[in-house]
Amino acid sequence: MLVRLEQRPEASKSMIYVSPLIAVVLTVLTAMVMFALLGVYPVKAIETFFIEPVSSLDGLAELLVKATPLVLIGVGLSLGFQANVWNIGAEGQLVIGALAGGGLALAFFDQQSIFLVPAMLVCGVLGGMAWAAIPAWLKTRYNTNEILTSLMLTYVGLLVLSYLVHGPWKDPQGMNFPESRLFHDSALLPILIDETRLNVGALIALFVVVLGWILISRHIIGFQIKVIGMAPMAASFAGFKEKRLIWLTLLISGGCAGLAGVIELSGAIGQIVPSISPGYGFTAIIVAFLGRLHPVGVLFAGLLMALTYLGGDSAQITMNLPNAVTGVFQGMLLFFLLASDVLIKYRVRFGAPKINTEAAE
């Protein structure tokens, strides 16, 4: 029997949503084989990885805390990716945004004000935007490749952070540790559930998802983003300004990353430390694609990715598995997703091609 891939007359709309689910199922199955080979009982391993981390209130809260930056950045990036603007430097924009917001908290470390947190959030957004504005300006002015410039600026951003925590912003009473002062209470995001780290940031992320959804599906800017990504010539025919959209998408994604940074700082960490993010800015790229570049998809993908972080920790602690398991999971997920995306444009057929047999002779 012959198995063939046959081109669909029209791309399958349902497959766009089914394909990520297929990818998740295949990832889990493959992971079970992998666990078995590692000498661990597969079902138990999957339970440790996917169920255990979220079987307590604290675990669930932690999942949301980790998903918050992923979703925030993922929504911003997905808008840019749809317009073929490849901002790879969200990690750097996150750091600079965090520094802008954190700097404000340090400047007013001895003062109480209900305006401090909102002002920090605004500074975070502006910081991320400023960092993303550099690749935007270089691209629109000198036609540089934003993939390279935004990525390189990430390392610059990390060095700025390093300089500040080792130098001017180091806590004067901190025994020379490379950390800033602890933020004052009024510089911390309100906690939603006591005894957990779940903070208002999660609600902000949810709000950004809704905002992004409305923008991409109903607003003229979202329409322009889609058209310029799918058919640049049609965009110029319609009179959409490409440069303006490059600026806009980079500023939005940079702003989202900056916001994520300041939320992580003021919601989950509480001071400026040398390592603010475990690579959220990069993981968010996978989140954006896994979520089909759609804000609602990004929400689910962000939760799933957050779970692989937690699952990796949990597998490490209880089953003695290496931490690399997290990376393996994320890699497999992306791999299977790309593979099952073939089914959007093709369908599987069994047997020889059907033809009008009476015409054969």
Binding site: E6, Q7, R8, P9, E10, A11, R218, H219, I220, I221, F223, K226, V227, M230, A231, M233, A234, S236, F237, A238, G239, K241, P353, K354, I355, N356, T357, E358, A359, A360, E361
Partner: protein, 510 residues
């Protein structure tokens, strides 16, 4: 021997998902015969030819080559049998010479020895003047086609396939080509000639096979048919010629180009030089010209995708529009139809209503505070579909799901339904089936009759003579004076297209 066909196809069938491109197609080509393969776009001509040239495999059917059953597995195998093909789109390297290009496209044995001598010999013998040492980018389109023909002839073909060879030629160049083809035919070379230009087929071909929707519907001797009767066989329906009321060329000036000079933004593009043109209310102005003579640049300037340095180089209703972007022009009342349907005039993977929104958002007020008015856009798209008889299951379907003719009707309709005072159309019916083409031409004529100014840029002279009140010619970026259509002949237009000025007019040839 003369009774054995050079090539015989029996029961060729090829199915793609959802369509049968060829259904039980049989065809016989005798030695020395010029055989026309005639049909609308999508009738299955290309599929059949790809099969003969070994580019594609059929699902069923047999091929006899001079009485022997053969399998043509690849273009190489086809060339070995003696099949040569001149494609509609040339595959030439601009930065190489004629000889180098020919050497690249033929079997290595043939490149040995004095290739340029043989090129000269063949080109002289068949009246295809060609200098082997010239660089391709310096050649006209007609000359480039000669390279392809000579390349085939060097391999001593016994069957030559020509796919729409005249679409890029001036009428004079067409005559030259026909002489060559007739000569080849006298020498016993069979020619499979694919075209939808009926007058050409009548004058050139001995027999014709007519295809419709993947099947052979008729075989005829073109000499004994009229262009009309063949068109009707091709369409399977009666052909309606566009109707028009009296010509009107004295309306108010709606669109004016004044000393328009534009440097092309494309590689190997054509700069526009000193173009002056007026289009008046109530008239259709046709612009003829061979592809690549500045039509694309002209269209970009008219749509506003490229802006002019001088704002008064383009005037719409007397208002300087040279620096307006496409949306400002639409607001000023200009409707625009670009050449490429998919990817330029419409977004392939977007629904019809979104594609209606694409160009109609400004003029039809389809946004509110920046938000898309989905209901209003859908309604507008549905009106276009209904008014222009676009065949589609609904406006939520993607633009790619429509056939070329239906999509073009939708795009033209989308612009017309916005009620513009000026409409600019590039290649209005390029690659469109005859039925849709007739409908589009009629719609343009009707627009003019209702008082709009229509500017149609086309390579199809038959079409221009059918719809235009006045005709101008663009050649190497210069525009000839527009003349009344009834006072100008196809030959005169042909000379202008080739860059040879008419008497009393300065020659525009560069």
């Amino acid at each position: 021997m003369a009774d054995t066909p050079r090539l015989e196809l029996i029961g060729i069938t090829k199915a793609y998902p959802g369509v049968i491109a060829n259904n039980n197609v049989s065809l016989k080509i005798m030695p020395g015969e010029i055989h026309a393969l005639l049909g609308e776009n999508g009738a299955g001509k290309s599929t059949l030819v790809k099969f003969i040239y070994g580019v594609q495999k059929a699902d069923a059917g047999r091929v006899l080559w001079e009485g022997q059953e053969v399998q043509i597995a690849s273009p190489n195998a086809a060339r070995k049998l003696g099949v040569g093909m001149v494609f509609q789109h040339f595959s030439l390297f601009d930065a190489m010479t004629v000889e180098e290009n020919i050497a690249l496209g033929i079997s290595p044995e043939l490149t040995k020895g004095d290739l340029s001598g043989r090129i000269r010999e063949v080109s002289l013998q068949y009246g295809l003047p060609l200098d082997p040492s010239r660089y391709v980018h310096t050649l006209s389109v007609g000359e480039r086609q000669r390279i392809e023909v000579v390349r085939c002839l060097l391999q001593d073909p016994r069957l030559l396939i020509m796919d729409e060879p005249t679409s890029v030629l001036t009428p004079q160049e067409v005559d030259e080509l026909f002489k060559t083809l007739r000569r080849l035919s006298e020498e016993g070379v069979s020619i499979l000639y694919i075209s939808h230009k009926l007058e050409e087929i009548k004058s050139l071909c001995h027999t014709a096979t007519i295809m419709r929707m993947g099947e052979v519907v008729a075989e005829c001797t073109p000499e004994n048919e009229t262009a009309r009767s063949m068109a009707e066989m091709m369409m399977g329906a009666d052909l309606v010629s566009p109707e028009r009321t009296g010509r009107k060329v004295d309306g108010a000036i709606k669109l004016e180009l004044r000393d328009l000079n534009v440097v092309s933004t494309h590689q190997h593009g054509t700069d526009l030089k000193d173009i002056n043109l007026t289009v008046r209310a109530g008239e259709v102005l046709g612009v003829a010209g061979i592809a690549g003579n500045g039509q694309r640049e002209l269209m970009e300037v008219l749509t506003g995708e490229v802006s002019c340095e001088n704002p008064t180089a383009v005037l719409v209703d007397g208002i300087a529009a040279g620096r307006m972007d496409p949306n400002e022009r639409r607001a000023a009342g200009v409707g625009l139809v670009p050449e490429e349907r998919l990817g330029h005039g419409a977004v392939p993977d977007m629904s019809l209503w979104e594609n209606a929104f694409l160009s109609a958002a400004t003029r039809m007020n389809l946004t509110k505070n920046g938000f898309i008015q989905v209901a209003a856009s859908t309604e507008f798209a549905e009106k276009v579909v209904e008014e222009f008889r676009v065949k589609t299951p609904g406006v939520t379907h993607f633009a790619t799901s429509l056939s070329g003719g239906n999509l073009q009707k939708f795009i033209v309709g989308r612009e017309i339904m916005q009620g513009p005072g000026v409409i600019v159309v590039l290649q209005p019916t390029w690659g469109v089936d005859a039925g849709s083409a007739a409908a589009i031409r009629q719609a343009l004529i009707n627009m003019a009759a209702e008082g709009a100014a229509v500017l149609a840029v086309s390579q199809d002279l038959e079409e221009l003579f059918e719809i235009s009140d006045r005709i101008a010619v663009i050649c190497e970026g210069r525009m000839s004076e527009a003349r009344l259509a009834e006072n100008v002949t196809v030959e005169e237009i042909g000379l202008l297209m080739a860059g040879i000025g008419l008497e009393g007019e300065p020659a525009h040839a560069g």
